[in-house]
């Protein structure tokens, strides 16, 4: 690939972000640890009765992963903003949405994918019905990229703000509610033995739309924020 071409630029961004994550690979487990803590707290709060737990298991796992994701969102642009690398990215001659999509992809790979891998463990701790687990994983596979893409737009608006955690959570909540509704709806349907494909298809359609539109919105938001 010719250096300086758009393909090379995307590969360079992906390779760089993966290398950076690998250099600090200890940090990559933080979201998983957080989700684990959240899930552990529920039996203490509600009692360990298996039937009760299994009814809420899918929902709790989804919410725990969602919140862990929100906490990890800040890392998407934080270090690039602090050392000036973000400016260089915006200045590069390549389409900014494409480069930001690459960053979001690596962010999903390094924060959400470990959570999906941990999901069976989390679900097991809450006595999730084994038949529902594949649906839960499918819902997570569709929902987490959506959450990353939508979250990236919101992080772009708050880039560089110190202590933006609360504001960021406020910004993403209205965007996350529909995603959570459909993901949890699919799991609930599966649990009740009802057809669960429709909400998953909605998630899939939303994901396809977001793959195209979210990076454009993210780039526009970044250009507004970067001064």
């Amino acid at each position: 690939m010719k250096p300086g071409s758009t393909g090379a630029a995307c590969m360079a961004v992906i390779r760089r972000d993966l290398t950076l994550c690998w250099r600090r690979r200890g940090d990559a487990l933080n979201p998983v640890l957080f989700a684990l803590i959240v899930v552990t707290l529920f039996p203490f709060a509600l009692g360990p009765e298996p039937n009760q737990l299994s009814r809420i298991a899918a929902g709790v796992v989804l919410v725990a992963i969602l919140i862990a994701g929100v906490l990890a969102l800040d890392a998407l642009f934080r270090s690039d903003h602090d050392d000036g690398a973000l400016e260089q990215l915006v200045l590069s001659p390549h389409p900014l949405p494409l480069l930001l999509a690459c960053k979001t992809l690596v962010h999903w790979l390094t924060t959400a994918l470990p959570l999906i891998v941990a999901a069976p463990l989390l679900a097991g701790m809450l006595r999730l019905d084994p038949g529902v687990l594949p649906v839960l994983l499918g819902a997570l596979a569709l929902a987490t990229p959506l959450l990353s893409l939508l979250g990236a737009v919101c992080v772009a608006l708050t880039v560089g703000m110190r202590r933006s955690g609360m504001l960021l959570a406020l910004l993403v909540l209205p965007l996350y509610v529909p995603v959570l509704i459909f993901a949890a709806g699919a799991c609930d349907a599966a649990q009740a033995g009802l057809p669960y494909l429709a909400p998953l298809l909605w998630l899939g359609a939303a994901l396809v739309l977001a793959l195209v539109l979210a990076p454009l919105a993210c780039a526009a938001a970044l250009r507004i924020s970067i001064t």
Partner: protein, 215 residues
């Protein structure tokens, strides 16, 4: 540092009536100037006079409040940057966890690489031979500046916008910057350099562009 005697009819960079305001307070302007290939221009002004903002506007990072910028006769939009502009800002834009070489490889992946030079050679030219595999966070501020200068050597760009390039550098470093500017001008490039006056050019007398915050 020589100003090119034969001026290209189309200036490399032309700004007309350029002004920028933040929160409706004017930061600089209106400015009119031209930069031709082979020229190095020094932007002089006190702290807070708007030098950094001017460079950001010229690079396309910020949109001017008024006025127009033309690069090689075409209107400057971020979309048309295509390997023509390099900005060296206050922050060098290097990742601390990556080595000097990895940072440079990323830069060339993003911006392309000039013929006849490699990242290792570039590091050698700026006096960082042997530091290729050192993580940037372990380098001193001056050394990081040199890595950023190596990036300037590697990535092709006709227009260099350097914001306080002499900051953090020792005597040898200052000479290095001047040498790089000379070579760049000789190759037909142009450069706009800001300095608050403490570190003046030590070779030649470049054209000066004074800038002042409007009263």
């Amino acid at each position: 540092m020589q100003t090119s005697p034969d001026h290209d009819p189309i200036p490399l960079l032309e700004a007309r009536g350029l002004a920028f305001a933040r929160n409706d307070e004017p930061v600089f302007g209106p400015l009119d100037f031209r930069l031709f290939a082979g020229e190095v221009v020094l932007v002089e002004g006190d702290n807070g006079a708007g030098k950094t903002t001017l460079l950001k506007v010229l690079s396309g990072l910020l949109e001017p409040g008024e006025g127009s910028i033309e690069l090689n006769g075409e209107a400057l939009t971020l979309a048309r940057l295509s390997h023509q502009v390099a900005l060296l800002g206050h922050l060098p834009g290097l990742k601390g966890d990556l080595t000097a070489l990895e940072n440079l490889r990323f830069a060339t992946g993003l911006g392309g690489i000039r013929a006849g030079i490699t990242p290792t050679l570039a590091l050698g030219s700026v006096g960082l031979e042997g530091y290729e595999d050192v993580p940037v966070r372990q380098l001193s501020a001056g050394q990081r500046k040199r890595v950023a200068l190596a990036r300037l050597l590697l990535v092709p760009a006709a227009l260099w916008l350097l914001d306080e390039p002499y900051a953090n550098l020792d005597r040898g470093g200052i000479d290095l910057v001047n040498r790089l500017l000379d070579d760049h001008a000789r190759r037909g490039g142009a450069a706009l350099v800001t300095s608050h006056g403490a570190y003046a050019f030590t070779s030649g007398t470049p054209r000066r562009l004074p800038i002042r915050r409007p009263a």
